[in-house]
Amino acid sequence: MKAMSSETVTLPNGRRWELHSGGAGPQLLWLHGLRGVDPADPVLTALQARYRVTAPVAPGFNDLDELSQIDNIHELALDYDDLIDVLGLDGFVMVGHSFGAMIAAEIAAHFPRRAERLALLAPFGLWNDAYPVSDIFAVPYTQIDDSLWHDPATRERFARKVATGADVKDVAAQTVKLAQGLTAVTKFVWPIPDRGLRRRLPRIACPTLVLLGAEDRVISPRYADDFKSGLRHGQTAVVAGSGHMLPYEQPEEVMLLLERFLQAPKIT
């Protein structure tokens, strides 16, 4: 597999975006979760086998100053709309994980004629008092992974892959990077990750797949019902043996579900 290539593009408003791309096939826009984009991400690698994957780095993850001109989720959606134009994406599918899935849903709700298919993996964005989204920002950085992963063995395996050869300085840098990414996320989800998406869900025009981990301690799998009831063309599935990190925890199952959904014949 060829490594993903990186580039920086500039929007009409002057903001610069870093993005990573690779693979061949239909266009797929990947919106990353809480940790930004790792070009060696196994999920991105798997997707590149079938798709031309473009993975932009969300504003703030590289430089928090980027957020100073983006006041709310609507302005964030506008920026992504600009980005899609700059990239010349047309007839693409959009897949997001966690915070990225919330953005993906918002882009599709703000601009319903953009993506042809939408897949949301453990999406933030809705709130139900009966099963509140847990507060991942009220735990020490070193314990965040405890609530994200279901299976400690999977977490270990994944963590070791990232940390191999890392010295203390790298670990410190990684902590700062995590803190910076989470800071960017807080701008759009603090103190409650509900910016009115429920009211906008019916605007989403394309077929939408929502996957939740059966053991997700951050976003209860019961949110499947909340998404289903708001979406016009929604289907949902709960993936067994998975926490919030479901594309990493159950990659084969998630890829199978994604493939089935993304390749299904278009309904016209």
Partner: protein, 418 residues
């Protein structure tokens, strides 16, 4: 040197096993532990203690703002300052202060502080803390990503609301007001002195020095621990090419004065351990939300100060085993005879160069009787030994004495209504 009596107003009856049974004294402290009758007694005794401090010669009496916190029962310090304004004269009211980003619109802060300044005859010190993460982000729901920007905008609005003689419009990012024209206006001109209680952030130091605010470090861990932070502040003063005037800075210190070391331990060990073991039981997850510290401070912190602060606040296990001897040896508390205490504060003045000492002479569940003793001992036997320190410097960060400060006062008896 100036001396202030600082009161945190802790809830005095947290159970013995509070630490074992509850993860945090702050944010999600269980409501069933609060007895309003205990609160009623505590508030009134605490106001007595502040008024007593004023009567024995402290320069200022200090109140501050905390939310959903069992060691700081002052969600609104302005209410306490208003009560104190009527019952005191001469002493300055150090409001340490209002977390500006929590008030919508922030002109509310400008108005209430102006009221206090006018009511008290120009005795107000206006404190503008950013506020702790517990208070601002968890209890009051502010996004840590925007808290500091919102705070700075609010400070700018308040300063202008105090000083601009004309009605003006304010088109901010967080506040938009068509007509700003507060009544009353502060008595002190051009404005009341502003103090910023803060942690160890370069951004806070720069703000203080750019706007001529006093910087106060409110640490619970004594002046040895505070040395690095104050060194950082004075380095920033040098960078701004300003004189190292000690009256630019304040520092908080726990103090326990007695006839001798043995009496100090007998009187103060229990309330001190109550504070460090029960009141400082803060869940580590609430101490450092992403974005509360700037990335620059966080990066610097991994090598130094911030990790210490984070580790300190998160070190619940360590707090549980602290002894009186630990507290004194580490300098969290300055304790002992008047001479011992004066020597230590002289040492602090040498090392930290702070002109404004905020004393915590009440802490934990200390009784009113013991608090009064501690306060009197400090005022009568310690302050005179230290008063002349830094007398060569002008203090431009404190209200001036004016004749007005005693001009109006409450009637001693109410005339019969005809």
């Amino acid at each position: 040197m100036k001396f202030h009596f600082f009161h945190l107003m802790p809830y005095p009856e947290l159970p013995e096993d509070f630490r074992e049974k509850n993860r945090s004294v702050w944010v999600d402290v269980p409501s069933h532990l609060f007895d309003p009758a205990v609160g009623h007694r505590a508030y009134n005794e605490y106001l007595d203690e502040l008024e007593y401090a004023a009567s024995v010669g402290f320069d200022g009496i200090c109140v501050n703002e905390h939310h959903q916190n069992a060691y700081g029962m002052m969600p609104s310090p302005n209410l306490m300052a208003a009560a104190l304004a009527r019952r005191t004269s001469g002493v300055k009211l150090v409001l340490m202060g209002n977390s500006v980003a929590l008030y919508n619109p922030p002109t509310r802060v400008a108005e209430e502080m102006a009221m206090l300044d006018v009511m008290s005859g120009g005795r107000l010190v206006a404190g503008f803390p950013v506020g702790t993460p517990m208070d601002t982000t968890y209890c009051y729901g502010q996004s840590p990503a925007t808290l500091r920007e919102k705070y700075r905008e609010g400070v700018d609005l308040i300063l202008r609301a105090w000083s601009d003689p004309d009605v003006f419009s304010f088109n901010g990012k967080y506040t938009q007001l068509r007509y700003v024209n507060i009544w009353p206006r502060p008595m002190q001109k051009p404005r009341p002195p502003v103090w910023v209680p803060g942690g160890a952030s370069v951004e806070t130091w720069d703000l203080c020095l750019e706007k001529d605010f006093l910087y106060a470090n409110l640490s619970y861990f004594g002046y040895q621990e505070g040395q690095k932070i104050m060194d950082g502040f004075w380095d920033a003063v040098d960078r701004h090419n300003l004189p190292r005037n000690p009256y630019r800075a304040g520092f908080l210190q726990f103090i326990a004065v007695a006839a001798d070391d043995a009496e100090a331990e007998r009187l103060y060990a229990e309330p001190a351990l109550y504070f460090y073991r029960r009141c400082l039981n803060i869940y580590a997850g609430y101490v450092n939300p992403p974005g509360y510290m700037s990335m620059a401070t966080l990066k610097a912190g991994i090598e130094g100060q911030v990790s210490r602060i984070v580790n300190r606040a998160g070190a619940r296990a360590e707090m549980a085993t602290l002894s009186w001897k630990d507290l004194v040896d580490r300098g969290y508390l300055v304790a002992g005879s008047p001479q011992t205490v004066a020597d230590r504060i002289n040492d602090m003045a040498d090392k930290l160069n702070v002109g404004h000492l905020m004393t915590l002479l009440h802490f934990g569940n200390m009784s009113k009787e013991v608090t009064t003793y501690n306060t009197r001992m400090f005022a009568e036997k310690v302050i005179p030994k230290l008063r002349s320190r830094f007398s060569q410097w002008d203090d431009n960060w404190f209200p001036r004495d004016t004749p007005l400060q005693t001009a109006a006062s409450p009637a001693t008896s109410l005339a019969a209504v005809p």
